[in-house]
């Protein structure tokens, strides 16, 4: 043990378990305190949890709280699983379809603009074919956690564009699920073609099975999970989520999509509302660990070497989101203020970009994706909310002729 200061001393005397506990406790505490400071000036938590990881990691000067991200190993995976389980739990296809054609059109426009520019950005950066595919997802999908929180904190829940905005986020979530299902075979598809085909089929069969259970198996699953007791319910649903994620990983699709579909299955049962409430503190805790651990793996030196690609991606994403905002506002006959609100709110990037990057790095893709995504998320998760809170300034500069109909509610 070479750690300096009192924390190093603690680490040296506590044995293996003690060392890991100190690492975890210090990590959460530092992340929490930093995020609390950021909250005062209206910053979201995700980039600050990650920044805490960068600062506390082995690549920066100052005390090293956690030397090896692997110390947090299983906990960070739990963070990823619970993030997607919660997403699956909240997601409802019926709500999406009830939103009507305008909403679907707006979502489709958003995805088309952002993914095509994302693919273009990826190929300009030029790290390889698979890398381009992953970068498209990283820059294409907004952070539903930050967008949701932002709308509540900026007091925009009663605005005319808010339903549309959240609808676009839901369309993104659907896309994310499909994208995750398709991505893993692509990422892992380096071995012989025959083996790949059977493994892909096995994965697809498993996913279809989960979709079928979500559609028709609500009653037995509900009976399995339903107890009046919150303690037992928590143990059962967390167990189910982790089990499904684990089986998904074993059959060659990602644990992320497994967890998402597990959430979808639970969403159809009568315990859904209670699980929604019970999962939140668990998700918050383990997701913070996940973001922190992602930060640990980032070397600020590498961050500067990918500054060019990050700058390019940030610029392209900002333009794409504003264009999508204008088109979405026009579809619903809303004005410039709504367009700016949509574009700048949906600009926030966070958990999904980081999840995709960690899957890519784990699959052995170009290692620069790690620092690239860290830099990209740091910029947009901080600049996005700040810009959204001043969207009226941007709205003032939007050309009037973009909005031919007068902006009635």
């Amino acid at each position: 043990m070479t750690g300096a200061g009192p924390l190093g001393l603690l680490a040296a005397t506590g044995g293996e378990t003690g060392r890991k506990l100190v690492a975890l406790g210090a990590a959460l505490l530092v992340a929490g305190i930093l995020a609390r400071a950021g909250r005062r000036i209206g910053l979201p938590t995700i980039p600050l949890f990650m920044a805490a990881g960068i600062l506390a990691g082995p690549h920066t000067p100052g005390p090293v709280l956690v030397r090896d991200p692997a110390d947090l190993g299983l906990l960070t995976t739990l963070g990823l699983i619970l993030l997607l389980f919660h997403l699956g739990l909240e997601f409802s296809l019926d709500d999406l379809l009830a939103g009507g054609r305008g909403l679907l059109a707006a979502g489709a426009v958003y995805l088309a603009v952002n993914l095509s520019t994302g693919l273009a950005t990826g190929s300009v950066i030029g790290w390889g074919g698979k890398e381009t595919l992953v970068i498209a997802g990283i820059v294409g999908i907004s952070s539903s956690a930050i967008v949701t929180k932002l709308l509540v904190e900026l007091r925009r829940l009663a605005n005319p564009e808010t339903g549309l905005l959240l609808g676009i986020v839901v369309v993104e979530d659907v896309f994310l699920a499909i994208y995750l299902a398709l991505l893993q075979p692509v990422l892992g598809g380096a071995e012989g073609t025959a083996g790949t085909v059977t493994s892909v089929l096995k994965g697809v069969a498993f996913l279809l099975l989960l979709v079928a259970i979500a559609r028709w198996g609500r009653r037995p699953v509900g009976r399995l999970l339903n107890t009046g007791d919150d303690e037992l319910l928590t143990v059962c649903f967390v167990g189910a989520a982790i089990l499904v994620a684990g089986v998904a990983a074993n059959v060659g699709v990602s644990d992320a999509i497994g967890a998402f579909l597990a959430g979808q299955v639970v969403a159809g049962t009568e315990v859904a509302h209670r699980v929604q409430r019970l999962v939140l503190p668990l998700r918050d805790l383990f997701a913070a660990t996940f973001f922190f651990a992602f930060g640990l793996s980032v070397d600020p030196g590498a961050l500067t070497s990918v500054a060019g690609p990050v700058l390019l991606a940030v610029t392209v994403t900002t333009m794409a989101c504003l264009v999508a905002g204008v088109v979405a506002a026009r579809i619903q006959r809303l004005g410039a203020a709504a367009a700016a609100n949509i574009g700048l709110t949906i600009l926030a990037r966070g958990e999904f970009s980081l999840i995709l990057a960690s899957l890519a790095v784990a699959a052995g893709l170009d290692g620069r994706i790690g620092p690239f995504t860290a830099g990209y998320v740091l910029v947009l998760a901080i600049a996005g909310p700040l810009a959204a809170s001043r969207s009226h300034v941007v709205a003032r500069y939007m050309p009037r002729q973009l909005f031919p109909t007068p902006a009635l509610s």
Binding site: E90, F91, S92, D95, L96, A98, G99, S144, T148, L151, V152, R155, R156, L157, A158, N159, P160, E161, T162, G163, L166, G167, V169, V170, H273, Q276, R277, L280, A337, A338, N341, A407, L408, S409
Partner: protein, 160 residues
């Protein structure tokens, strides 16, 4: 103001109920956590809304208040129900009421008004099917049954 309450799902947040009220667009957002946000805006999103946040418990109490569970805004006729052409109503005695200080028998309620007093609510007491000797007092809430067209005569004769 007869406009319906509009309902919209806010995925990941909860549900929104909006109504165009006198003075602006009133929206209630019920979060999954139970938190309620009450927005009063101009409905266009151009100017900042006034927002109040309530806990689940506060919101339920406030909802009961608005529904009139604690206080009914009408003064003398508080409950009025017509069952099969028969009216059940409720009048409150004032100190200057013609019937105050007199018994039901003295007032000859049934013969002169064709209405029947079925109960008297006095403070926390409920006197069900009072005796003819019962004296009506100021503050009594008198529950009567009869034909709707006879109510006005009863009011003139008893409560004023």
């Amino acid at each position: 103001m007869s406009e319906q309450i509009r309902e919209q799902e806010l995925p990941g947040i909860g549900r929104r109920y909006s109504v165009r009220a006198d003075g602006g667009e009133l929206s209630i957002v019920i979060h999954h956590s139970g938190r309620r946000d009450v927005y009063l805006s101009d409905g266009t999103g151009r100017s900042a809304p006034a927002v109040a946040t309530l806990s689940d418990d506060q919101a339920r109490r406030l909802g009961a208040v608005m529904a009139g569970a604690y206080f009914q805004p009408t003064l003398t006729r508080q409950i009025e129900a017509v069952v099969g052409g028969l009216l059940i109503d409720w009048v409150t005695m004032a100190p200057g009421s013609p019937g105050a200080g007199r018994s039901i028998a003295e007032l000859e309620v049934r013969r002169r008004t064709r209405m029947t007093i079925v109960a008297i609510l006095r403070g926390d007491d409920a006197i069900v099917t009072p005796e003819p000797t019962e004296v009506l007092q100021p503050g009594d809430r008198v529950v009567v049954v009869g034909r709707p067209e006879n109510l006005d005569g009863f009011v003139r004769h008893v409560s004023g």
